[in-house]
Symmetry: C2
Subunit: 190 residues, 2 copies
DNA sequence: AGTCTTTCTTAAGATATCTTAATTTTTAGG
DNA sequence: CCTAAAAATTAAGATATCTTAAGAAAGACT
C-alpha cells in the first residue's frame, strides 16, 4: 500500500523515501463495507480520503428526499466533502461506499502540520486542487452544452470503468436526469 | 495599487513588505476598454489577471455561435481560463472586459519562479484555488437543485453588485437560460 | 431453488424551457 | 438632440424532461 502512495505522490512532485515514510505514517487505513457511510450529513468531515481500492459516491438529499450524486471516486482518487473538510463546518452531503472499499484517511490537522514541514506536499495539493478545479469547470461546460443523451454517451465513453461498477440509477443521478428518462434514452439509442 | 494588492494578499497569508514588493514587481499593469478582449479562443492564456477595477467575463461560443458565459469577475478577483493557463494549451474561451477595466497580469513563468522563492505564495494560491473549487462545486449544486426562477433570485440576492453592472442577457447566459425566458420569469415575479 | 429487495423499463400526462420572430425600450455616438 | 445599435419584452408553438404509477427483471440472502 505504501508503494501505491509513493507512485501516486511522485506523479506530482519528487519525494525522498524518508518523506514518503513520514507522510505515510500520518495516514490511517480504514475499510468500509458496501453501503457503509464514510461521512453523514451534519457531521464535520475530518478527513480527506485516498481510495486505495473501491468506489465511493458523494451525494445529498434534495427537498423531496431524493439522492443527488455530485461525485464518484475510484482507486487512486481523493474524495471528501470539500466545503466541510476545508472549512471544518457541518457537511451537507453524504459519503458512501458503493463497493467494499479501502481508504487511507488524512486528517485536517495532520495535513496542516505536514504542510508546515513539507512544502512539497503543499505543492502537490495545490496541483491536485488545480486539476480538480479544471475537471469541475469542464464538467459544468459539458453539462451546459450537452443534452442528456449526449451526456450519457460522454459518460460511458470517457469513464469506462464507472458504467460497469455503478448502478444505472446512480449514473442518472450524476447526469442530472431521472432514471426513467435515462432508461428511455438508452432504448432510443439502439 | 500596491496597497490594494498588499491588503488582498494579507487576507490569506502574512507577507513582509519586502516580499510584497518583490512579488508586485513581477505584476504588469494593463487597462482594457469596454468590449476589449484579454484573451481570445485558440491562443494560449499567458496570464492570471487580478482585477484592480472593472468587470470581466469568460465565455465560449457554442455550436450555434451563441455566447455562453461561464464566469464573471469584478474588483479584487482573479480571473483566467484555468485550463489554458495551467496547462499552457490553446484556450477554448474568451476573456472580455464588460466595463473599462484595469488589471495586474501575472504570467505563468513569473508565477512558477515566484513559487520557488516564496512558498507563502504557493500557500496563498493553494487556498485561493480551494476557495474557487468550493465556489464552483457549490454553483453546480445550486444549478442542480434550483429551477431557473430560483437561480435568478439567488443570483440577484447573493451577488448584488453584478445585477447592476452586467446586462440582463449576460446574466441569462450565466444562469443557463435564454434571455427571452428570463424576461418572462421577471415578469411573473411581480 | 425461493422469496424479498433492489434495479430497470414502459407509458401517459404534466410542466419547464426553448425557438422564432416581431415589437418596444434603452443606450451610445455624432 | 437624433439616429443607429444594443438590449429587453411579448407571444405562439415546439420540445425536452419530469412525474406518477405499475410491472418486469435481476440480484441477494436464507
Amino acid at each position: 500500500m505504501k508503494e501505491q502512495i509513493k507512485t501516486y505522490f511522485n506523479r506530482y512532485v519528487t519525494f525522498e523515501d524518508s518523506e514518503i515514510d513520514a507522510i505515510y505514517s500520518k495516514l490511517e487505513e480504514k475499510t468500509f463495507r458496501k453501503k457503509e457511510f464514510l461521512l453523514t450529513e451534519n457531521s464535520i468531515c475530518r478527513y480527506n480520503f485516498f481510495i486505495v481500492k473501491g468506489v465511493v459516491r458523494l451525494f445529498y438529499l434534495d427537498a423531496k428526499g431524493h439522492e443527488k450524486i455530485t461525485q464518484f471516486a475510484i482507486d487512486n482518487w481523493w474524495i471528501t466533502h470539500m466545503e466541510s473538510f476545508i472549512q471544518q463546518i457541518p457537511s451537507t452531503q453524504y459519503l458512501q461506499a458503493i463497493e467494499d472499499t479501502t481508504v487511507l484517511c488524512l486528517s485536517k490537522s495532520n495535513l496542516e502540520t505536514l504542510y508546515k514541514t513539507y512544502p512539497k506536499l503543499e505543492r502537490m495539493f495545490r496541483l491536485i486542487t488545480e486539476n480538480m478545479l479544471i475537471a469541475n469547470l469542464r464538467k459544468s461546460d459539458i453539462y451546459l452544452q450537452m443534452k442528456s443523451k449526449e451526456r450519457y454517451s460522454f459518460f460511458v465513453e470517457k469513464l469506462p470503468g464507472f458504467a460497469q461498477r455503478v448502478p444505472q440509477y446512480m449514473i442518472a443521478s450524476y447526469l442530472e436526469i431521472t432514471p426513467e428518462y435515462l432508461s428511455e434514452l438508452r432504448r432510443q439509442r439502439i
